[in-house]
């Protein structure tokens, strides 16, 4: 049985749900950021799979994936800077203790 679009989409969905579970259930801010990265990678994987199997001659999904990688790099750099600043202020990056803005 040859590998088709659905196989890649299911791998991407499994990765996304693992990332979703981790981002919702962990307390360490760095682990939450890692899980967000896993979710972004799963989205990129499905974009490239659509590009390969549905429009193989246009590469439009791959250009979108390039922009998504750029946004992910910007997001992780600013996120880690915020986490380091938080650690300087509070000596702690447990998100259940950082609830100043919680309503």
């Amino acid at each position: 049985m040859s590998i088709g679009l659905t196989h890649y989409l299911i791998v991407s969905a499994v990765l996304f749900s693992i990332g979703l579970y981790g981002a919702l259930s962990r307390k360490n801010a760095i682990v939450i950021l890692m899980c967000v990265e896993i979710m972004l990678n799963a989205a990129n994987l499905s974009l490239v799979a659509f590009s390969r199997f549905i429009t193989p001659d246009q590469l439009s999904g791959q250009t979108l994936a390039i922009f998504s990688i750029v946004v992910a790099a910007a997001e992780v750099s600013v996120g880690l800077a915020i986490i380091i600043a938080l650690y300087r202020q509070r000596k702690n990056i447990d998100v259940s203790n950082i609830n100043l803005l919680k309503w």
Partner: protein, 162 residues
């Protein structure tokens, strides 16, 4: 045939890397699981005949983002036993399984218009033409460059020691 074996091996490696991230208690092992996940996704890109994106994935994610995350782990000094679940663990597990079920149901029940054209390899020249020549994506590339610049300046000014 070879590409089928490569797909299964890389898919299992990617999923096990992601499982290491959500299950290990030592943060450094978590970061190594993340690197395993990123590398196998780069391999999956190459099996999808996206060679340029596979290399970009290795350069950006493994070369930059994973190193940045490891440096942040070192700076925050909470390596041992700090990857503990919160009290919403069961709810999170439930929502993950719910999302997985809905996504797989939609994927299996949609009639995708799969094209049988063979993809163009190597993709680098085509991607360069698409980004810089036709179709007006140059503006988006410039905006992405401005976004990266803003992110660099923002990260430096937020993380700087006062």
């Amino acid at each position: 045939m070879g590409i089928n074996i490569a797909f299964w091996v890389l898919a299992i490696l990617a999923v096990s890397g992601a499982l290491i991230v959500v299950s290990m208690h030592n943060l450094l092992r978590t970061a190594l699981g993340l690197i395993l996940c990123f590398l196998s996704i780069a391999g999956l890109f190459i099996t999808l005949s996206a060679d340029f994106l596979g290399i970009v994935q290795v350069l950006v994610y493994v070369g930059a983002i994973a190193v940045l995350i490891i440096i942040a782990i070192m700076l925050t000094r909470e390596v041992e036993c700090s990857n503990m679940p919160s009290r919403f663990k069961l709810l999170a597990l439930l929502s993950g399984i719910l999302f997985l079920g809905v996504a797989i149901w939609v994927m299996l029940n949609t009639d995708w218009p799969v094209s049988s054209t063979t993809p163009a390899v190597p993709t680098t020249a085509t991607l360069g033409n698409l980004l810089f020549n036709q179709s007006g994506l140059v503006l988006a590339v410039e905006i992405a460059a401005m976004l990266i610049l803003a992110a660099i300046i923002g990260a430096i000014s937020v993380a700087r020691e006062k």
